[in-house]
Symmetry: none
Subunit: 281 residues, 2 copies
DNA sequence: TATGGATTGGAATTATTATTTCATATTGCC
DNA sequence: GGCAATATGAAATAATAATTCCAATCCATA
């Protein structure tokens, strides 16, 4: 057997794609089928797979051999391994990956770690979202004239995506960033007819907290996304969400926060359209 | 065959747990093994499973028959089906949620949709990452004097998080944003000893592409994160990654891109530390 | 358009794997 | 403790599936 037989699915995939154009017709046919229906390869028999792909079983074996396997069976193992991997629980994987990365197990482990952290966070939030708070927040933001988006440091990427999405949905908004140093003035314009989305996680950026305080004292309602009920942000907020993001290598995932933020934004956009229609009708 | 043969895994599981205490010793042994190692049942042969569980193959068949199956093969089908379901579930769920949201099924559906989109994207990228490219990118970025981070519009949140993380890791970096209009000057400073992380997805922001072109012509190596091999960004890049983000309600998830970006950043940080240590030693 | 090499189809063969069978052991019950 | 019913182990057998082989076909090239 060739020394460089693809042992994991991704390598196999790449190899197939590379050689795609130099493969004979029938072999190419089964190659395409394999990448499109990996599950069938994992579970089927040579005969059943060949039939589904419209080739002879022998072609399937030739395909495997071209890739360096010694037969269909060893090729199939790669497809089976892929399913196994995919299904192992994320929490377990995350723990294992942290340990692995700790002992310096290469860069792949770092990547896997971030993916696992993000998945864990998403998993977590999907069960935790308080639907009532969610509706309240949407209602509150939907009737705002201008939505102010307030976040610093680690949370800033989320804020910038919210601002981008609000812009696309033609909802007036103002991102409060620190760069220009004009925050105080910007905040000064906010009125009780507006609303704020504020995002901050421990360790809370003092500037974000301070600005949230000022703006709430002006009577502007705040929707907060933060990480615990003890968050200083929670006390200024009309509605707040607790989002627990898993971290890896010292950096927290943003995926759950992002998902919540986008859902809020789009829901607000939808609610406004509905309200608009009703008014006209 | 019994009329009430468990056809799905959950029913099977329940059935086994119910009868657990009335089963003969060896059969109970294999029952426990089956629930603990469902993946092994799905993929193994009767002989290999029996060996792992410490029983005879015939016992395994008797176990299947006790449950009403006519043999091990039909029992195994249930375990295989379970793996299939699990894997397809995300894509299917996403499609279902999209349909639901279309017909105005409330705000919770929007939230679920974004979570599903993010999960799908993560699932997808975790199998797809080309490890070689990943290592190349890390090597390239680790030896850069300054890392320039280039992204507009939708990709900008990712860039800002990269910049934040690089800063925390004390790696010199420069975010190229459009706001101040000084991009041309900023780009002018970049030299072949630096490197760029460029992120852009279809529809590619013309400014991002143009800036990538200019900077690559200056001989600065580019690591690109984009969405297909046809991306205009790919042609300027030394290394590029294809990230397929699922979208929901017109907004693409960023979670896969974020995970990749963070992994790159942290890996670069680690590589620099290692190199530093070696130099001193 | 003839020729050699590559590719393919299909049946024959071999291998692997599930199932059955039967002898032996164990358990519960009188 | 003895007997019947049940459970188990191990090997034989049957079924299924992978692989090989060879003839037929296709395709490029002279």
């Amino acid at each position: 057997m060739d020394e460089r037989v693809p042992r994991d699915f991704e390598t196999l995939r790449t190899t197939i794609l590379e050689r795609r154009h130099s493969l004979p017709k029938r072999i190419a046919q089964i190659a395409a089928y394999a990448l499109d229906n990996p599950d069938d390869i994992a579970f089927g028999t040579a005969a059943s797979i060949a039939a589904s792909a419209g080739v002879q079983p022998s072609t399937l074996i030739r395909f495997a051999q071209q890739l360096g396997f010694d037969g269909f069976t060893s090729l199939q193992l790669v497809f089976r391994e892929r399913l196994r991997e995919r299904n192992s629980s994320y929490d377990e994987r995350l723990a294992a990956l942290r340990a692995k990365a700790e002992e310096g197990a290469g860069h792949r482990a770092i990547f896997d770690g971030f993916v696992a952290a993000a998945s864990t966070s998403l998993n977590d939030i999907s069960g935790r979202l308080n639907e009532e708070h969610f509706e309240d927040a949407i209602a509150l933001l939907a009737k705002a004239e201008t939505i102010y988006v307030l976040a610093k440091r680690r949370s800033y990427p989320v804020a910038s995506y919210i601002a981008y999405a609000l812009g696309k949905l033609k909802i007036r908004n103002q991102l409060i960033e620190s760069a220009a140093g004009l925050n105080a003035e910007m905040i000064g314009f906010a009125s009780p007819r507006d609303a704020v989305i504020a995002i901050s996680f421990s360790p809370y950026a003092p500037a974000a907290i301070e600005e949230a305080r000022v703006i709430s004292e002006q009577g502007v309602p705040i929707v907060a996304i933060t990480d615990s009920s003890f968050s200083p942000l929670a006390q200024f907020a009309k509605v707040w969400f607790e989002v627990a993001e898993a971290d890896f290598a010292g950096f927290r995932s943003l995926s759950a926060t992002m998902a919540l933020a986008m859902a809020l934004t789009v829901a607000v956009g939808e609610k406004r359209r509905d309200t608009g229609r009703k008014r006209k009708a």
